[in-house]
């Protein structure tokens, strides 16, 4: 019996993935539980394993964007089945088993009907389009795979191509390129590099805009003494065994934020339609850049966990992020985010809320400063805090009160007990 290889849904919001590579050429034998293909979403990489032993028959070439539940290939039990597959699912000029990773234009248009909609214009790899539509697409260098068809049975017709050509932002040549030779002017801009907005960049691009476009964001900034936190961290780290994970400022911050959120539940909420949903759980994410763009792994139920546990989990998440093995569920479903720019010498800034959460805390560097205390100038380590929140649902005073609770715990970590 032929086994289908389909794209798994790795998380609630996952719709598509990039088929990075096939591990086997057509007709090669794969063992059961052996990796047969590698896919990558905007957040994670995932190895698809073959459920059975058999002969691999890739249908979708590596480098293509694929939809959840789409069939990308088959496993045949024997040569006879393979021959039938070749007849039923002919693959043009053989599927390319591996392709360069970042081929521009690999992004699939989400408005295109999913391959699982049998009425859609994409049945496997065969794109149903009228000869005229094909000719026009070729002429304008349009990828038919990205064009939703409106003809009978989802067929791509002339009108669909006309629509794309008429849309100014689409692939139609921008009028500027036809303007009388702008490159001849010494003031004209020339392109040094064109970076396609896609993959993780596209997700960040959309999320940032969505966040600022949706919420009324207000940032409150303050500065607190980091002395108590420093002492607390040193004391604990000094008594830890060498093989135990040392606690980080981030771990302390996550715990402090989680406890402050428990006292100010409104800050731990999201807007859903006409409702403000205040979450029972407190899942604090820590924004980090491990070289592939911004990701925000979460510490779930951070308010119930010890700082030691939080530190340990953070360490594991960072390791996974570096190895690109984070699961989608470790990345989504947070209720609050912390972002730290201290390492780059930043004090105050205006973080953007990680939508659909409603608040984010920005941490600055810890720096020694002269500070007036009891009418005397003393040298004290200080840390800047920048709290951005959605002013539609959190008023200024409650926001400030949350920050106040937080600063007290940072200055006196014993309050966390």
């Amino acid at each position: 019996m032929v086994t289908e290889i389909t794209i798994p849904k790795l998380g609630l919001t996952m719709e598509e993935a990039k088929l990075v590579k096939w591990s086997f050429d057509m007709g090669r034998t794969v063992a059961a539980k052996q990796m047969v293909a590698l896919i990558e979403t905007d957040k994670v990489s995932f190895e698809i394993v073959s459920p059975v032993k058999g002969l691999v028959y890739p249908v979708v070439p590596a480098g293509t964007m694929v939809l959840v539940a789409q069939i990308i290939g088959y496993i045949a039990t024997d040569e006879a089945e393979l021959a039938i597959l070749q007849k039923e699912h002919p693959v043009d000029a053989g599927v390319i088993v591996e392709q360069s990773e970042d081929k521009p234009g690999g992004k699939l248009d989400k408005t295109a009907p999913a391959a699982t909609d049998t009425a859609g214009s994409k049945v496997g790899e065969r794109i149903i389009a009228s000869p005229l539509a094909r000719r026009m697409a070729k002429d304008h260098d349009l990828d038919l795979a990205k064009i939703p068809g409106t003809g009978p049975g989802g067929r791509i017709v002339e009108a669909d191509i006309q629509k794309i050509l008429a849309a100014p932002t689409q692939a139609a040549p921008a009028p500027i390129s036809k303007a009388p030779a702008p490159e001849e002017s010494e003031f004209a801009l020339t392109v040094a590099e064109e970076i396609p907005i896609q993959g993780i960049r596209k997700v960040i691009f959309q999320n940032m805009h969505l966040s600022l476009n949706t919420q009324a964001q207000l940032t409150l900034q303050t500065e607190v003494s980091a002395k108590g936190m420093q002492d607390f961290r040193n004391r604990i780290n000094n008594i830890l065994d060498p093989d135990e994970t040392k606690i980080s400022y981030n771990a302390i911050m996550i715990k402090a934020v989680a406890l402050a959120l428990r006292q100010h539940p409104r800050v731990n909420s999201s807007v859903d339609g006409e409702m403000i949903k205040v979450w029972k759980q407190i899942h604090v994410g820590a924004a980090m850049d491990v070289g592939k763009g911004l990701i925000v792994p979460k510490i779930r139920n951070a308010d119930t966990k010890s700082i030691m546990t939080i530190a340990k989990e953070m360490g594991q998440l960072v390791d996974k992020a570096k190895q690109n093995t984070l699961s989608l569920d470790e990345l989504q479903g947070g209720t609050f985010t912390i972002t730290n720019l201290g390492a780059w010498g930043i004090d105050h800034f205006t973080p953007i809320v990680n939508f659909p959460e409603s608040a984010i805390l920005g941490l600055g560097r810890i720096v020694e400063k002269p500070w007036v205390k009891n009418s005397e100038v003393v040298v004290e380590p200080r840390i800047a805090l920048s709290l951005t929140f959605d002013h539609r649902i959190i008023d200024g005073a409650p926001g400030a009160m949350f920050l106040k609770t937080l600063t007290r715990m940072i200055e006196e970590p014993l309050l966390m007990l």
């Binding site: 009228s130 000869p131 005229l132 539509a133 000719r135 026009m136 002429d139 017709v157 002339e158």
Partner: protein
């Protein structure tokens, strides 16, 4: 309350009724007269019977070319009329039976809108969720002094037992061309005059010219670009004065005149708020909805191509839309046809229309004269012309003059419907020898590689 009430039981209303019923509508069809409309009772079908008689005569007269020596002893027009009536009534009975079969209620009388939601039929008020206006068109004889006395309508012509010795046919549309073809073949001296400068003015110029030549060959005298000014009786005949460059007068026994106007009067359209276009037809959008939501209009009453197949095609779209779908009607895919000897048929843009749209127009053409079947059967008049846009090879229009043109145009309709480029058409295979090879050859000529034409 009905789901759909259809006003008019011609080919449009009939098709709309059945399609609506197929979609589970409760349907009523309102008809003042008999089912079948102009097409079945006074138009397409009766004329085809007459044309078949004329064509049979034509073939007998040309039989000598094939060694068949035959003599026509006489023409029994009564048999033609009876056959015509028989065919019409057979079709009409079939339609009535099918309407009953689909549970369509036929309401006899004139349907008049009282409001957008109510219709009056013989004093009784009916309501429907949706309405489809399919009232067709009527004769509109122009107001020309003296014309009334000389007038022969097509209705009368189709029932003639004796044909006039001479006749002036005034107009250059498909009906006039077909009537000229029939009268001429049965021995009437036919003069065809029209205000337009060419026959079938809606068609490609080449088609008009080919048809004009063919009619002249048949013996029809043409006066184009001439207006009929007056008709005066002289004994049993009439002197018809034409104005125009040639300024002739013609003496004939009868004058046939058949212009048609959309049937929009006495329907209470104003009570429903339904707007008309400048040409007097009911305004309908691409969904065939009138200016009033839920009221659709199809067929001759909306103008465009006033032919039966346009009405029945619109009927499907209107019925589906009335039943909740949203289908666009492809006006550009409605073919046009005229049954002369040879036939004329077309779909899409003429070369001139395409030029006026600023398209990069190229044409391909292939004459019947070098088609194997045409030569074998001695039917060599005509040509297939493909008009296409050079840029993408999009087929803009196809124009056929020649035997079976009205069948052949179906090839072009399919090609355009599925958006073939001229290259797909050129790559086709047809049985040899057939007239359909001409379509493929014209497409090849369009691409510059017609195999059976001299090197370009």
């Amino acid at each position: 309350m009905y789901d759909v009430i259809i006003i008019g039981g011609g080919p449009g209303g009939y098709a709309a009724a059945i399609r609506s019923a197929q979609l589970d509508a409760g349907v009523a069809l309102v008809e003042t007269d008999i089912i079948g409309g102009t097409c079945v009772n006074r138009g397409c079908i009766p004329i085809k019977v007459w044309l078949r008689a004329a064509d049979t005569l034509r073939r007998i007269q040309g039989a000598g070319d094939f060694g068949i020596r035959a003599k026509v002893e006489g023409i029994d027009f009564q048999t033609i009329v009876e056959r015509k009536n028989g065919v019409s009534s057979d079709i009409r009975m079939g339609m009535e039976a099918l309407l009953g079969n689909y549970g369509v209620e036929v309401l006899k009388g004139r349907g008049v809108f009282k409001s957008p939601g109510e219709i009056d039929i013989n004093g009784a008020v009916y309501q429907a969720k949706k309405y489809i206006i399919a009232t067709g068109s009527r004769m509109a004889v122009p107001d020309i002094p003296g014309l009334k006395d000389a007038l022969l309508t097509t209705d009368q012509a189709l029932d003639l037992q004796n044909l006039p010795a001479s006749i002036l046919i005034y107009g250059a549309g498909p009906i006039e061309v077909e009537m000229a073809t029939i009268f001429c073949r049965f021995g009437s001296k036919v003069t065809l005059a029209a205000q337009t400068r060419r026959l079938l003015p809606r068609e490609d110029q080449d088609s008009s010219q080919r048809l004009a030549q063919a009619l002249r060959d048949e013996g029809v005298t043409l006066f184009l670009g001439q207006k009929l000014e007056s008709v005066k009786p002289v004994g049993n005949e009439f002197i018809c004065s034409l104005s125009g460059s040639k300024n002739p007068t013609i003496t004939v026994e009868k004058v046939l005149c058949a212009p048609r106007l959309p049937n929009t009067q006495n329907l209470g359209l104003e009570n429903a708020g339904i707007l008309l276009d400048e040409d007097g037809s009911v305004r309908a959008d691409d969904f065939l909805q009138t200016s009033v939501e839920g009221i659709y209009a199809i067929g001759d009453v909306v103008g465009h191509t006033m032919q039966s197949h346009a009405a029945s095609a619109m009927a499907i779209t209107a019925a589906e839309n009335a039943m909740g779908q949203s289908k666009l009607f492809s006006f550009n895919l409605v073919p046009r046809g005229a049954w002369s000897f040879p036939e004329v048929a077309s779909v899409g843009l003429t070369e001139e229309e395409a030029e006026n749209q600023d398209l990069d127009v190229t044409v391909g053409e292939f004459p019947y004269a070098i088609n194997g079947l045409a030569m074998s059967v001695n039917e060599m008049k005509g040509s297939v012309k493909v008009v296409f846009d050079e840029r993408y090879g999009k087929i803009l229009g196809v124009h056929i003059v020649g035997p079976n043109a009205n069948e052949l145009i179906g090839e072009a309709v399919v090609a355009m419907q599925f958006e073939y480029t001229v290259a797909e058409l050129a790559a086709g295979i047809r049985v040899h020898p057939t007239f359909s090879e001409n379509v493929v050859d014209a497409a090849r000529d369009a691409l510059g590689w017609a195999l059976y034409l001299p090197k370009r």
